[in-house]
């Protein structure tokens, strides 16, 4: 028999792959814009600028680098499809089971990189490989 949830007095035990919110692992983001372009809800906002890095070795050319200025997800538009996570080639986006982010104003549902980054702490470990995985590839 199913038990009655006692949330919020007792935190619910959420399944490992719960789709609560989307967390940002900023160090992995290269500002390729793929997530913002694939998002069917148009709810990912990314701003960035280019910086020129001086050459570290003599004779080497200076390098241009894209620096992230803003990464925000508007959860009043997001439909939790996870396409941004799927499409990210650099594993910068993760599902987090975090769900307690209710606000009283719609505009406050736009979560900036600070909060998205803090949610990384709530991202569970990836599930272990199937015991048989890897067999025959030694």
């Amino acid at each position: 028999m199913a038990e009655v949830s006692r949330d919020p007095d007792v935190k619910p035990e959420l399944p490992a792959r719960s789709r609560g919110v989307i967390a940002l692992f900023e160090e992995n983001c290269t500002v390729c814009m793929l997530c913002a372009r694939e998002c069917p809800c148009w709810c990912i906002y990314i701003d960035s600028h280019q910086e020129t890095r001086q050459a570290e070795e003599p004779g080497a050319r200076e390098r241009r680098q894209v620096v992230l200025d803003r990464f925000a997800i508007d959860y009043s538009l997001c439909m939790y499809c996870g396409i941004c996570i799927e499409v990210c080639p650099f594993d910068a986006l993760f599902w987090s089971p975090e769900f307690e982010y209710a606000v009283t104003d719609l505009t406050e549902l736009t979560q900036e990189r600070q909060t998205l980054g803090e949610w990384m702490a709530t991202v569970p470990e990836p599930p272990r490989l199937d015991p048989a995985a890897g067999d025959g590839h030694a």
């Binding site: 500002v31 814009m33 372009r37 694939e38 148009w42 990314i46 701003d47 960035s48 894209v66 200025d69």
Partner: protein
Amino acid sequence: MNAPGTPPAVDPDWLDHVVREVRATTGVEVCVEEESFSGPGGGLERGGVGPPTLDVPADRWVDVIAALAHDLGYRYFDWLSAVDELDQGFAVVCHVAKLGTESPEAQPLRHLLVRTRVPREAPVLRSVTGIYAGAAWHERETHEMFGIDFAGHPNLAPLLLPEEFEGHPLRKDFVLAARAAKPWPGAKEPGESDESGPAARRGRRGSRRRRLAPPGVPAPDEWGPRPPDRGGDDG
């Protein structure tokens, strides 16, 4: 409609019986899933997912549904809605059922879709509220969403949309305001921001590269109401 994963086994004898009875009662040459209606795979064909579909001419819409309800026992009205089929007008679909008896062998539950088509220029159909009172809300919703008139409906007031709403949101030429009023967040290239200014966003800096367009959203000049001479060139 049906339990997932269990396509309904259509009993051809039953379906032939329904068609024969409707023809005998109304004189209407109904046909089952006319192939040209929405193309192969486009409709709810026999053997496909969902109940079999009876196609009827628009001027006999009420007669056929009345015969099904009163003479053939299809007393249960499930829903009524429409499909915008562009140049081919609107398909209006009504789902009715004949409830089964306690022993399904004696009389099983039967589902039927009745379908007709009204032209885009004059989308009018007679109301079936005289047969199923519960169809009133469905016809109101279909009226506001597709702009189809139901002659004889007691009160075609909007059901879900506010009184002052303009347009018919489920028509395919309806411009989604959220996609027209807001710039696409994916239009920016890596290294760009909103602070780059409108000139940069128009592509002054990257003018050699064609600006990306949001997938699935046509350009403003190919979307929304347009002159009739350009209406059919995009298939």
